[in-house]
Amino acid sequence: MPSWADFQPFIVSGLALGGVYALSGVGMVVLYQATGVVYLAFGAVGAMGALIAWSLINAGTPEWLAWLVCVLFGGGVTLAYGMVFGPPLARRDPLVKAVATLGLTLVLFGLMDLLWTTNGGQSRAITLPTDNGGFTVGQIQVTWTQVIGLAAGIAIVVVTEVFLRYTKPGTAMRAMANDREITATLGVPVRRVEAAAWFGCGVIAGAAGLLLADLVALDATTLTFLVISSLAAALIAQLRSIVLTFVAAIAIGLIHDLITPIQALSNYRDMTPFVLAAVALLVPARQQLLSQSREEA
């Protein structure tokens, strides 16, 4: 068994990884809270935004403008998807809505493969200015980008919670997610509120894509399917609580990395999100079953 000193560096890297999962997981729960859609294209939208930013930077565009384009691309694509496919799918089962976003994922993934080919072994990277500064914890350097990644997750949680709970449009979004038609009959401008939710989520996807391209990798496959691990955090929170999603994401990142120095478990560490999600889903289901049995008895 490794010593405490062996585990210390992995606490830092685990927090950074948890922050990565939190960015995607929280973004997905925000949209689910507002529209009732599990947006599986979250990763692909961010990945494509980041690749566009990379291309612009290489073509000589100022970095700040490229970042802005990345964020706006996320907002634009997500808004367009929500406006075109949101209304016709509004009455369908949540599973159908989620699978429809998988269609958008595959379209974007195919486009990325076509436009940013990997032939010839090309590799790409986005480096943010915040990578060059930071501080040391133990023997590990912590960059400002990692701090921003974690802080961005916290900021999104706080802002979204406040927005959904205490503002009029936020209340309208929550009502709409529960029942679109009743909300409309109450005079809420459903299309406009929905558009705001989709655009907001897309902006988060674009910003997350930019940060994750730096923190994880600027690679279409990696960023597109990172959402699967992040989804585990959202499932642990049963897609209901943004705060719990954030906490679950940090826990997943920490446990994942703390397993790394344990040789017997190290190769299985990538199962962490799914094992934790399975446990989180099975335990309440079992308790529900037991209470039902007791009632019947």
Binding site: T118, N119, G121, I140, F225, L226, I228, H256, T260, D270
Partner: protein, 440 residues
């Protein structure tokens, strides 16, 4: 020339991730795209150089075509079409300058998506429908594994870029590249020569890693140096923990040697840099996929003389031999389909086409499967201009004709030569078996 491509069907996330992993196992996103257009000759000067492709400059070959074929992987995230496309460019150049004794080469390229039945079907298509007399330019994750028995039965001797173990361990396949195992051997060998106290060898966790790991393990054992073998799930999403784990395992006098595709290697090395770990070990090593100017540029000067990369082919930027000039001229004039430009992939395609043309020119009489493959098998010590050593096919039970290589290191955004041609140690039992068979 005819290019027949099969469209990749829709596939799920799992299949994509698995395919990426297989490429990493192969260590064969192999290569270097140093994409330096400034080095490519202008079309006018390229035209005068490319007239050397054939024996009759400027005369188009009009005789009966000689049909040749190749099978390459082309799927989302993994495409080796540049290799076959470069071979195609070379053949076009030959056809426009007299051909092979007046005969043009007709090159059929089949693409596949890592599906064994499809790969077997491609081979049958080339033989039974296209009636090819030779196979060249194969670069596929699974082709050697799936088709080697078929080629042996029909008497085809394949000139390829190897990935799977069967490309190097069977009688009818000879590659121009070293492949992941021997390239990893080269990287570990360099580290051992720097007297490191320990080697940590890390690669992707996919089937076939045991075969690759056996080479570095044998080298470390012979040098009485401890070696730690690690594997990672790809794509890597936790590069920080991977980098910390590697550095902790190697120790301050140890070496970390990576065998990943360029994007995965870059992710690990950048994570190490961001965490301030690059100087916590004596040196870092990498197999051939890391040999790209892009990687050197992305990493920056902190890695100058800290990262040492095995290079299977002659560095194109610093070489001005006639072969290298012809390669660049053909690429400029005929290589419009070669998306990666100058780099290892197109160098491999050039070398394979060169060898095939050399073999065809030695055929007397009709171009049949028997005559062409006998000529291929007879190629001996042929100077491709792209490798450290002459390339030989021969009648051997296994073929590793490229077993001598360079080591390069980043130098302010470019890869430069750190060590010239060096033989891969025969401590690797496969290398020893090949040298014994080849009488080396």
């Amino acid at each position: 020339m005819k290019i027949r491509q099969r469209a990749p069907g829709a596939r799920g996330a799992a299949a994509l991730v698995a395919a990426m992993g297989l490429v990493a196992a192969a260590g064969c996103g192999s290569s270097s795209s140093s994409n330096s257009p400034a080095k490519t000759p202008k079309p006018s000067s390229a035209a005068s150089l490319t007239s050397q492709c054939g024996t009759k400059p400027g005369v188009k070959a009009t005789g009966t075509p000689i049909p040749l074929g190749g099978i390459v992987t082309n799927q989302p995230g993994t495409s080796f079409t540049d290799i076959a496309n470069m071979a195609n460019a070379y053949f076009t150049c030959v056809n426009n300058n007299g051909g092979i004794n007046g005969h043009p080469i007709k090159y059929y390229i089949e693409t596949e998506q890592t599906k064994p039945p499809q790969i077997a079907g491609d081979a049958a298509q080339l033989v039974q429908t296209d009636h090819v007399v030779g196979i060249v330019g194969n670069t596929s994750i699974l082709e050697c594994t799936v088709d080697h028995s078929y080629w042996e039965k029909l008497g085809f001797f394949i000139i390829d870029s190897g990935i799977a173990p069967e490309c190097y361990s069977t009688s009818n396949s000879a590659a121009v590249n070293m492949g992941p195992r021997y390239s990893s051997d080269g990287a570990v060998q360099y580290a051992l020569a720097q007297h490191v106290s320990k080697v940590v060898f890390d690669q992707s966790a996919v089937p076939g890693t045991g075969y690759i790991a056996a080479g570095p393990a044998a080298l470390a054992k012979a040098a009485h140096t401890p070696i730690v073998q690690l594997t990672e799930t790809v794509p890597i999403t936790d590069a920080n923990s991977v980098a910390i784990k590697e550095v902790d395992a190697a120790g301050p006098q140890g070496a970390v040697v990576l065998n990943f595709t360029p994007p995965e290697a870059l992710v690990i090395l950048q994570a190490a840099q961001k965490l301030g770990l690059e100087n916590r070990v004596k040196m870092w090593g990498c197999s051939t996929p890391c040999n790209t100017d892009f990687l050197a540029h992305a990493l920056g000067p902190k890695w100058n003389n800290k990262l040492f990369v095995n290079a299977e082919l002659t560095p194109p930027d610093s070489t001005s031999s006639p072969s290298m000039s012809l390669y660049k001229a053909i690429l400029a004039q005929y290589g419009h389909a070669v998306s990666g430009g100058i780099g290892s992939f197109s160098q491999m395609g050039f070398a394979e086409a060169e060898i095939m043309v050399h073999a065809l020119e030695s055929v007397t009489g009709p171009y049949t499967v028997q005559s062409v493959n006998a000529a291929i098998k007879a190629v001996s010590s042929f100077n491709t201009g792209m490798l450290c050593q002459g390339w030989t096919y021969g009648s051997y039970p296994l073929h590793i004709p490229n077993n001598e290589d360079y080591t390069v290191t980043p130098d302010n955004g470019r890869m430069v030569t750190a060590q010239g041609c060096t033989l891969i140690s025969a401590v690797d039992p496969q290398i020893a078996a090949y040298r014994k068979a080849a009488g080396g």
